[in-house]
C-alpha cells in the first residue's frame, strides 16, 4: 500500500478524501495535548473565552513526550490512549479542529462529532516513541508550560506515519480490521 503525503493545516476537501485504513505521512505543524491541556481548553470554551491556539484546520497529537536530552529536539514521543480525551474532543472539533492523532478506540460521541464537523481520527503506532520522535523536526511549548510533559507544544513534523482509524463517514478501522481477522469458532 502506498502512503499518501498530506500537509497541515487540513482543509475540508482533504478530510473528505480520507477513509479508514488509509496510510498517511503528515508534514507540517501539529499540536500536542493530552488530559490536562484538554481540560483547560474545554474550560475556556465553556466560558466563551479565547483559546491559546487557533484550532481551525489543525491536528492535535495526544502525546506526553519524555524530556529531551541535551541536543535533542524532543524525547520519545508516541501516542497515548485517546479514550481519555473522548469527553473533550467534540467541543474541539466544533471549534474547527480537523484531526486527532492517538491510539485506541473512541466513543460514539466522538465518531458523531467527526461526521458533524468533518474531522478524522488518526492512529500512530503505540509504543514506537523512539521511531516517531525521529519524524519531529522541531518542538516548542506554546501554552501551559506548567503542565510539563502535558504542556501544549507546536511540533513541526516531516512524513509522520499514521493510519486513518475513524473517517467522517463512520468508517472504523479498529472494528473493520478486527472483523476481517476474527476467527469466531476459536475465540
Amino acid at each position: 500500500m502506498k502512503d499518501r503525503v498530506i500537509n497541515t493545516p487540513l482543509s475540508d476537501e482533504v478530510v473528505e478524501s480520507l477513509h479508514a485504513g488509509d496510510r498517511l505521512l503528515i508534514t507540517g505543524i501539529i499540536y500536542t495535548g493530552r488530559d490536562a491541556a484538554h481540560k483547560r481548553l474545554v474550560e475556556l470554551i465553556d466560558k466563551g473565552e479565547p483559546l491559546p491556539i487557533d484550532l481551525k484546520g489543525q491536528i492535535i497529537y495526544f502525546v506526553g513526550p519524555t524530556p529531551p536530552k541535551p541536543g535533542e529536539v524532543i524525547g520519545s514521543a508516541g501516542p497515548t490512549t485517546s479514550g481519555r480525551m473522548d469527553a473533550y474532543s467534540p467541543k474541539l472539533t466544533a471549534m474547527g479542529l480537523k484531526g486527532m492523532i492517538g491510539k485506541g478506540s473512541r466513543n460514539e460521541a466522538v465518531k458523531e462529532a467527526l461526521k458533524r464537523d468533518k474531522a478524522v481520527y488518526l492512529g500512530a503506532t503505540g509504543g514506537a516513541g523512539a521511531l516517531l520522535a525521529q519524524r519531529i523536526v522541531s518542538a516548542k511549548v506554546v501554552a501551559y508550560e506548567d503542565l510539563g510533559p502535558e504542556a501544549i507544544r507546536e511540533l513541526v513534523v516531516e512524513e509522520f506515519p499514521v493510519v486513518v482509524i475513524n473517517d467522517m463517514y463512520g468508517g472504523d478501522l479498529y472494528v473493520e480490521g478486527r472483523k476481517k481477522y476474527e476467527r469466531k469458532g476459536d475465540s
Binding site: 500500500m1 485504513g21 496510510r23 502525546v63 506526553g64 513526550p65 519524555t66 524530556p67 529531551p68 536530552k69 524525547g75 520519545s76 514521543a77 508516541g78 497515548t80 490512549t81 479514550g83 491510539k103 485506541g104 478506540s105 492512529g123 503506532t125 503505540g126 509504543g127 514506537a128 516513541g129 523512539a130 521511531l131 520522535a133 525521529q134 510539563g148 510533559p149 506515519p161 493510519v163 478501522l173 479498529y174 473493520e176 480490521g177 478486527r178 472483523k179 476481517k180 481477522y181 476474527e182 476467527r183 469466531k184 469458532g185 476459536d186 475465540s187
Partner: protein, 281 residues
C-alpha cells in the same frame, strides 16, 4: 550475616530503570522477528517492522522505547542473611527511581492525590515496591517500568467457584477483547489464579517477568496458557489493534490455593514494550 550498603541498591535501581526503558529484551525482539513471518495482515506486518526498528533505534540512540516510561515497579528478593547498612531500604529504592528517571531523561508519570489534584510528584516516586524474603545472602533486584495504557485495561474478577475453568478462561479472554487496541497489542497476558484479592493481582503482575516463549513447568497450566493464547489470537485484534492474526505475545499464569468460597482471577495486561531488567547484588 552479610552487610550490604543500601547505596548499592540505589545505584542498581537507577541503572536498571534506564536500561529497562531503553533496551527491549532479546526475547521480545525475537518474538517480533518471528511474528513478522507469521502475521497475516500486511498492515500488521508493517506495525511489527516499525516495532523492530523502534527497538533498534532506542538501543542505538539510548532513548526510551516509549514515552510512557511508566511507574517504577520494583521487586526485591532479599536473602535472609543480608543486613542492610547505610540507611533505610525503601528510601534507597525510591532514591534509585529518582536518580534513574532524572538522569536517564525518563518521563515522570506519578501523580499524588489520584482522585483530586493529581499533582506530579516530579521524580516518579514512590516506587511500587514488592519485597520477598528468601534463603541466602544475595539480593535480587528487578525493575519493571509499567505504562498506564496497558495497566488501565487490566482487571480482577472475584468469580464464583461454580464458574470453574471455563468461567476463568472466558473472563480472561473477555478482558483482552474489551481492551482491544488500547493497551498497544501484541500484548502479554499475565494471569493470577487463586490466592486472595491482592495475591491474585500480585501474581498476575509477577508473571510478566517470565521470559517470552518459556513454558510453564506445570503441564496443567501450560495447556491453560496455550488455550488462552489461541482464543485471544482468534479475536483478530492484531498489531496496534488494526486487525490481524497476532494479538498476543505470550500468556503467563501463576496460581495459589484459595479460599473454599472464592475463585479470584486477575488479568494484568502488558503492552509490547515489555520492560524489565534485573541484577543480583
Amino acid at each position: 550475616m552479610r552487610e550490604l550498603d543500601v547505596a548499592r541498591v540505589t545505584e542498581t535501581v537507577a541503572k536498571l530503570a534506564i536500561d529497562a526503558c531503553n533496551y527491549l529484551g532479546d526475547d521480545v525482539v525475537a518474538f517480533f522477528e518471528k511474528a513478522l513471518t507469521l502475521e497475516e495482515s500486511e498492515t500488521g506486518r508493517d506495525i511489527l517492522a516499525q516495532l523492530l526498528e523502534n527497538a533498534k533505534l532506542a538501543k542505538d540512540t539510548d532513548r526510551p522505547l516509549c514515552q510512557d516510561t511508566g511507574l517504577a515497579v520494583v521487586f526485591l528478593e532479599v536473602g535472609q542473611d543480608v543486613h542492610f547498612v547505610g540507611g533505610g531500604l525503601e528510601e534507597a529504592v525510591n532514591e534509585g527511581v529518582r536518580k534513574g528517571y532524572t538522569e536517564g531523561y525518563l518521563r515522570k508519570s506519578a501523580v499524588a492525590d489520584p482522585i483530586g489534584a493529581r499533582k506530579n510528584t516530579t521524580d516518579n516516586t514512590p516506587a511500587m515496591l514488592h519485597t520477598r524474603i528468601v534463603p541466602g545472602d544475595k539480593v535480587r533486584v528487578i525493575v519493571a517500568p509499567k505504562g498506564g495504557g496497558a495497566e488501565n485495561m487490566s482487571a480482577i474478577g472475584m468469580l464464583k467457584p461454580a464458574q470453574g475453568r471455563q468461567g476463568a478462561v472466558d473472563f480472561i479472554v473477555e478482558t483482552v477483547s474489551k481492551a482491544g487496541p488500547n493497551p498497544c497489542p501484541p500484548i502479554i497476558v499475565g494471569v493470577g489464579l487463586g490466592g486472595t484479592f491482592e495475591k491474585a493481582a500480585y501474581m498476575a503482575k509477577h508473571s510478566l517477568l517470565r521470559e517470552v516463549g518459556s513454558t510453564n513447568p506445570e503441564p496443567r497450566l501450560t495447556e491453560l496458557e496455550d488455550e488462552i493464547e489461541k482464543r485471544c489470537n482468534a479475536l483478530g485484534i492484531g498489531p496496534a489493534g488494526l486487525g490481524g492474526s497476532i494479538s498476543v505475545i505470550d500468556v503467563f499464569v501463576e496460581e495459589l490455593p484459595c479460599h473454599i468460597a472464592s475463585m479470584p482471577v486477575a488479568v494484568n495486561i502488558q503492552c509490547h514494550s515489555a520492560r524489565h531488567k534485573e541484577a543480583v547484588l
